[in-house]
């Protein structure tokens, strides 16, 4: 069996599972973000009284944090009330950050667990060797009542990534390159395991960025075998005992792809699809109105650091806005302590409080018709960040920072100083 299958089998109380089988799994943790007051409504409509386990459910206020409208303030108010009334042990209000960042930081993610969240980017937690998948609001209400959910045991695709990146080329470029080659529906209903020398050696932040965007290939879940950096990260945050599942040598993958990234160029996904990804050399150097570094994909300390490497002591283009939203308060505090925030403010950046920001087009820096945004986030669909007539280019935080500096799409390799 594959490690993913062993996780599902354990959660289903079975010795083994096979591809295509439907299994009912016990859920280790369930997270609901602030887009989904519907979860509470569905829970009530189904006659729910008490949640199945108040230690295993948390609300995270990230998509609307802080509330931009009266309606969203009301959503927060009702969700806060429910959390309090049910006595939920963990609650992450507007002062915390994006769910996929705050959960690992709070020690709620570990190898071998089954995690569901009302967010498609729950694949992120494959970085830790967890089974994480996104579900809808009403389905989440059934989990809140029963603590279980059925899954179809998925086919598993292996994407092997070998090599070392050049300075100025980042994990985001790796996943955009893979998406550009394999396309947005390669893994619909399937799981992806990322392996290879790059994955084995790389740090937690890079692993999270890659697993995060597995959902853009349609994947149900992503998986990476945890490495020493993962074990260190987890041991600093929880003393939870966990099991590390090993994939059996005779396991047969549904599909297998191999990439070498030694000579990879920075990648750009041009409007309006995530898989429209090309090496930066092949992309028109259009003028950029807004550059954005943030979200569950590109708002970690390492991402902000890449921007500092390029922008320290410089000023961004006067026709470009650079928006930076740390993925969490922990990230924000570290960035302040290290002097990153001051360096970027001096360069002309605008900071907003931790959360999803304009990534999904609700607030904090939307786009007007005809505007161009280059962003370290995950989706460039029409209307994703505001007007349907705006254009969104997906890129690494380094490319975003370089583009903010020059005022048009710019290859960061020519600007990286190497160290801060």
């Amino acid at each position: 069996m594959h490690a993913i299958e062993k996780i599902l089998a354990r959660a289903a109380g079975k010795d083994g599972v096979k591809t295509g089988e439907i299994v009912s799994c016990k859920i280790d943790f369930a997270e609901i973000n602030d887009l989904y007051l519907q979860t509470v409504y569905s829970f009530n409509e189904m006659g729910g009284k008490n949640v199945w386990d108040k230690d295993k459910i948390a609300f995270v206020f990230d998509h609307y944090s802080p509330a931009p409208t009266i309606k969203t303030a009301q959503i927060h108010k009702e969700m806060r009330g429910f959390a309090k009334e049910q006595g939920l042990k963990n609650h992450f209000d507007i002062n915390t950050g994006v769910c996929h960042q705050v959960m690992p930081e709070a020690g709620l993610i570990w190898p071998g667990m089954v995690l569901v969240a009302t967010d498609s980017h729950t694949t992120t937690h494959g970085a830790f060797g967890a089974f994480g998948t996104g579900i809808g609001a009403t389905e989440m209400a059934t989990v809140m009542m029963s603590g279980e959910l059925w899954f179809r045991v998925p086919e598993i695709i292996n994407i092997e990534i070998n090599g070392k990146l050049q300075p100025g080329v980042l994990a985001k470029d790796v996943i955009l390159h893979v998406l550009g080659k394999l396309k947005a529906d390669i893994a619909v209903y399937k799981a992806i395991e990322f392996s290879g020398t790059y994955i084995e050696e790389t740090d937690v932040a890079c692993r999270m960025t890659i697993c995060n965007m597995a959902v853009e290939m349609g994947a149900k879940t992503a998986y990476m075998k945890p490495n020493d950096k993962v074990f260190k990260y987890i041991s600093e945050r929880t003393d939870k005992k966990y099991i590390i599942d090993e994939t059996d040598d005779d396991f047969e993958y549904a599909e297998k792809y191999v990439f070498n990234i030694d000579d990879l160029s920075p990648q750009i996904a041009v409007p309006h699809s995530v898989d429209n990804a090309f090496p930066i050399e092949e992309v028109d150097k259009v003028k950029v109105n807004q550059a954005f570094i943030g979200s569950c994909t590109g708002g970690r300390l390492e991402d902000i650091e890449e921007a500092v490497k390029i922008l320290i002591g410089k000023k961004i283009n006067t026709d470009t806005r650079l928006l930076i939203i740390p993925a969490s308060t922990e990230v924000y505090k570290k960035a302040i302590k290290l002097g990153y925030v001051e360096a970027l403010l001096d360069a002309g950046a605008t900071f907003s409080s931790p959360g999803c920001g304009p990534c999904l087009g609700t607030h904090q820096g939307l786009l007007a018709p005809g505007e161009v945004c280059i962003t370290a986030t995950n989706r460039n669909f029409p209307g994703r960040m505001g007007s349907t007539e705006a254009s969104i280019y997906l890129a690494s935080p380094a490319t975003v920072a370089a583009s903010a500096l020059i005022g048009e799409i710019k290859d960061p390799r020519e600007l990286v100083r190497g160290s801060i």
Binding site: M46, D119, G136, T138, V188, L360, F381, G383, G386
Partner: protein, 167 residues
Amino acid sequence: MNKVLKGKAFVFGNNIDTDQIYPGRYLELVKPDEIAKHCLEGADPEFASKAAKGDVVVSGTNFGCGSSREHAVITLLNAGVSVILADSFARIFYRNSINLALPLMVCKGISKKVSNGDCLEVNLEEGIIINKSTGEKIQGEKISEYAMEIIKSGGIKPLFRKKFGDK
């Protein structure tokens, strides 16, 4: 639920994501009739005003990709869409649709066999689509028994109310 659904086809392309089905800027809305007003706005701003009760959405591959937002199903349901036929569906959308009892069927090649405005007859239990405008009979993939049971019950809510309600 009617065994045979009839309606006019609205045909869309591949990778119709949930931001096109229901743009993020309307996620704060909670009333179904308000949510319905923005149905498929990102793909066709006129859709909500053109669509009538019973209409059929036909699409290419990976319909409903992107965000997990349940609003994408709520808007289609309340705009009057009776069934969605696509070459393939994104996983979370598929589950949300079954859970809220909006029928949907995988039918490879459907987006090439149907034109905008064609009149379709869809037999869910048999997995058969008849294009009344061209006379073509198209075989789709039957919905699994498990999912069909949820749809027939009117969605996961009535099922759960019976099983777990008041606990």
